[in-house]
């Protein structure tokens, strides 16, 4: 397939791995920021191709994982209302709140629908004028333009039965929080390709300078990731700390200006709580005052809900690259995709769920066997 097969070629992958081997002289810890990258790495077995001294740790870029439990409980309280059609991206449906998930709310009679685009909510709203359509507007900068477009069009067409439950987060403040932590191990980053396609990568330049870390904005296909790793290691070995763009076929330094304009008109930066991490100042979006009437929290005046995370769960440390899924005693035993205890086990992009789905819950003995059979 054009633009896909070219980036999955086994021979080129082997050459890139060989170049990484030649360049790398010291051990390095590199974080891929995006959940999509984590998924691709584990799905394609890329981390097993890398030399031992190159460790990939998985970042906080899984939007479903970092949506705080309080917000999920609010979503569930709204979705249970008989007058509401609750619309969401698909992978949010299985995320457990304090009391079940959206699938179970659906089975109890709640009207919960999966949409592929937030704009689909406008069609649903027109077809159901006597009901309230609520969209769970989560995600990073990537989904912000489409989510902003929903609010924008709802206001422009005077729709009174559409609102957004907003839980938007931003990547640069999360990177800053990781690098500022005394426990930080990360020495270089694969930057988030899709996020930068929207907002560009200017914002990452001060981070690279201030913390002296290389950041290579990277795509999602196997060869993208291998090339991104190579570019980060070249910088680390040469003592450089710059922002470079591996994903130039998709984005440039400035990003998508019309999308940025729309985001700026609808959203403003606000403090946000991240599941498993805590509050990060200036790390999210909320609707501007002009769009307040489209804020579902305001419209349904849902009370703040107190929640408790299971104490065994180390999702917060996994999201910051301090620990890996294997370091958790509950991984694959008490905590599985059937019964997730925490954020990183719930979405396919979460590090724990990706590890589990692709067999990383197996013992070392199993893995040795897999390696032997695979080669």
């Amino acid at each position: 397939m054009k633009y896909l097969d070219e980036y999955r070629d086994g021979d080129i992958a082997a050459k890139l791995v060989e170049r990484i081997r030649r360049v790398q002289t010291k051990p390095w810890v590199i974080m891929e920021v995006c959940g999509g990258q984590t998924h691709s790495i584990v799905k394609n077995g890329i981390d097993h191709l890398l030399p031992k001294g190159v460790e990939l740790v998985h970042g906080p870029g899984c939007p479903v994982c970092v949506t705080p439990l309080e917000m999920i409980d609010k979503a569930h309280a709204i979705a249970r209302r008989p007058d509401v059609v609750f619309c969401s991206f698909g992978d949010m449906l299985r995320v457990p709140g304090s009391n079940g998930d959206l699938f179970s709310i659906k089975s109890q009679g709640g009207d919960v629908r999966v949409v592929y685009s937030p704009i689909d909510c406008l069609k649903i709203a027109k077809a159901n004028p006597d009901r309230q359509i609520v969209f769970f507007a989560i995600g990073f900068e990537t989904t912000a333009p489409a989510n902003a477009m929903l609010a924008w069009q709802a206001r422009a067409t005077g729709m009174t039965n559409v609102s957004l439950l907003v839980s938007h987060v931003l990547v640069p403040p999360a990177i800053e929080a990781i690098l500022s932590s005394p426990q930080n191990r990360v020495q270089g980053f694969l930057g988030p390709g899709h996020v930068c396609a929207v907002v560009g990568y200017r914002e990452y330049e001060p981070l690279a300078g201030r913390f002296h870390v290389p950041i290579v904005v990277t795509g999602f296909e196997p060869l993208d990731i291998l090339e991104g790793v190579l570019m980060v290691i070249e910088q680390l070995e040469q003592g450089r700390a710059e922002v470079e763009n591996q994903y130039s076929r998709v984005l440039d330094r400035g990003g998508n200006r019309p999308a940025q304009d729309l985001i700026g008109k609808v959203f403003e930066v606000s403090d946000r709580k991240w599941r498993g991490v805590g509050n990060i100042p200036g790390s999210g979006f909320q609707l501007r005052d002009e769009f307040r009437e489209f804020d579902a929290e305001h419209r349904f005046s849902v009370e703040t809900i107190d929640t408790m995370e299971p104490p065994v769960c180390i999702a917060g440390q996994i999201l910051q690259g301090i620990k890996k899924p294997h370091d958790c005693p509950a991984f694959g035993t008490e905590c599985t995709p059937q019964h997730p205890l925490g954020a990183t086990m719930v979405s396919a992009e979460g590090a724990c769920a990706a590890y589990y789905a692709y067999g990383r819950h197996l013992t070392d003995a199993d893995l040795v066997t897999i390696g032997a059979n695979g080669k």
């Binding site: 394609n44 698909g90 695979g374």
Partner: protein, 366 residues
Amino acid sequence: MSTKVDESEQQELAQPFGSCPLPIFDHPQIVLGHGSGGKLSAELIEKVFVSRFRNPTLEKMDDQAVLDVGGVRLAFTTDSFVVTPIFFPGGDIGALAVNGTVNDLAVGGAKPLYLAAAFILEEGLPAADLARVVDSMAIAAQNAGVQLVTGDTKVVNRGKGDKVFITTTGIGHMNRATELSADRARPGDKILLSGFIGDHGITILSQREGLEFEGAPESDCAALHGLVAAILDEAEAAGDLRSVRVMRDPTRGGVATVLNEIAQRSRAGMILRESEIPVRETVRGACELLGLDPLYVANEGKLVAVVAPQIADRVLSAMQQHTLGTDGRIIGEVVEQPSGMVLMRTFVGGTRVVDVLFGEQLPRIC
């Protein structure tokens, strides 16, 4: 709405059924994932159904029951069809209902003979639509060489059904000395797949969601009895009928789910080669866009066969000479370890586990 009320409601709903001594089914309600073909479906079948009806035939858990009736071996199966929309490119619910049951008989090695069909019709269904569905069933039955010999019709209130639900039940004659079963895969066996995967599932999804793709896919809905006969004829000609170990049609849950079932039942492992698994460009594009994996997407006219190595090449060429198997390939091998698991060698040379999904495959956010 206060959360207190929710909690008490939830607790009430979470009570297990009565004082039932059978395994507790830990879902207070049925969720859609119970129909996905994944782990949730398996749990429902085991804890609710098999535990209550337990008998040796049922416990084999093949797609059809093989019964000895007065010295004659018969295959017996049933399947319900609830697809939306009822008409789609490449087929409709009627063709699906006939072919699905024919295929469940055929993959067990039976010659499909007779079908029963039960219809649940929703009040308001256009009679012309029903006639179109039934015409399509008649054509499919004729093509598959089966007769529809009995049936039933019920009508439910508007909103209590979805246009038309069809259940078909079939009987076939086990007219060859086959020994096909999901527990017969052995290390060294080859895994054959008859063609492109995911066509049906992606067709239905794109119709349902109003997604438009360039070169839109069509459902692969087809009766597999001819392809199965071609494979068994070839094995018979080689004097090695027992070397065809197991055949399955990878419908709901896709190729990945079927192979996992075989690996688990046979207590063997499997190694697939991603580069050998045929996926059409449109289907791959749609899957990339929607964050789905074609290995888990439904097919309605594909065959997976596990065949002993000595006749694998002969069987493959017999498959490729049949119109439904022209794109057939050997996609992998059965191995000893890790037992009960399916592994795949990826395009870039990595290895990963191809697990059974928990419930429905969910589109990823980005």
